[in-house]
Symmetry: C2
Amino acid sequence: MKEGPDISRVATLIGDPARANILTALMTGVALTATELAVEAGVTPQTASGHLAELVDGGLLQVRKQGRHKYFALAHGDVAVALESLMGLASDVRRTRTGPKDIALRRARVCYNHLAGHLGVQMFASLTQRVFLRNDVDAPVLTDTGRAFVTEFGVDLAALDAMRAPLCRSCLDWSERRTHLAGSLGRAMLARMEELHWVQRDNQSRALIFNAQGTTAFEKAFPVG
Amino acid sequence: MKEGPDISRVATLIGDPARANILTALMTGVALTATELAVEAGVTPQTASGHLAELVDGGLLQVRKQGRHKYFALAHGDVAVALESLMGLASDVRRTRTGPKDIALRRARVCYNHLAGHLGVQMFASLTQRVFLRNDVDAPVLTDTGRAFVTEFGVDLAALDAMRAPLCRSCLDWSERRTHLAGSLGRAMLARMEELHWVQRDNQSRALIFNAQGTTAFEKAFPVG
DNA sequence: GAGATGCTTCGGTTACGGTCGAAGTATGAA
DNA sequence: TTCATACTTCGACCGTAACCGAAGCATCTC
């Protein structure tokens, strides 16, 4: 009966609506303060404080104290991956409803600081198709031509290599049910697109809004066919 | 605030210990009756009945009525994948404890009817290394030499192709944190190993017990290095 | 038919946990 | 120092949901 890890503990943690809202808010990858998260969750600061303590204790969040603020973020990428997979199950259930906001989210959104949604899987597919990315056993690997490509694109690979975090990771997209690029390279690619003013974050949601020239440039940079 | 799919609903579903036990029991891939699951969950049949209805309603389980029995199984592979990813998070927290039963589970266990654990990822790595398996964008793909290999191994590929279910899928292993082979081929490979009497299922847990000659044969069939 | 077995519905109890108000502790600003 | 802001602790309230006993269907066996 007692089998492997206790799955119900962590699921209960995610199961409360307030805590789920907190986690969802942090899926963007940014760190937020306790009060910001309280607003996001729709509860008072006292209540949020309790929830946050539980989430940290449960290993889902990490916390950094800065002056009188406390910044919370997802503990690591695995948490984001697990949350996305739960979203996949959840969206399955109510596959009927597709609000207008949903459409924007499905097209492009931020997932732990990298690009997800339709455009996210398109970029991944395009990179793979041109053998800039090779899908190895565990994780995608950037090929030599791939390294040249992303450098040309404006990403400082040396800086990324210096970081201890894995360069490439794959993440299953809940809306597309296909893989997109995560890891530090995924983050860097999105950051570069923001730098190029292709895209802007919606501060109300996880949606990413590509402007006209951004869309054109994206299609040119990451063609698929 | 209202973002994408409602993650808390499905997480709450998994969060109850009784329901978590039910889901974990079904991770083997076999279908079980309501009373069997009641025993597994450690609750009375009435209580289990309610839980099962909720799980079906929530889209996590599928049910088939057969005479006066009701057989329950996971709704689809995505559920198993999501559960495994949650186990990954849960095992993170209590990384200290490693019971003797845990060791067997980590070595080899059944995950939705396919081989998981250390030996599962070894098989996957071995197949990939010899280019029997190619890791494509979304899912692994069996190469031509790979088709020859598994046929030689004793798997009826024609029968699998005829099924509508995907042949190859990858599944993230919670104990190894690496990929192993899922999909109908994954199931067929394990079935064939049972047929060859390499391995036996433990009916108390998800553990798979390889006997002496099974271990030797496995190492020979799926070398890695 | 009668009896057994598998599953479900109902009602009532119980307990856990989410919530907020009020008060308390840190940190920074004036 | 004094005040404001950010967060936490405490206590009390309340609602939900998990649970089981008892009774009710449905299906199979004899």
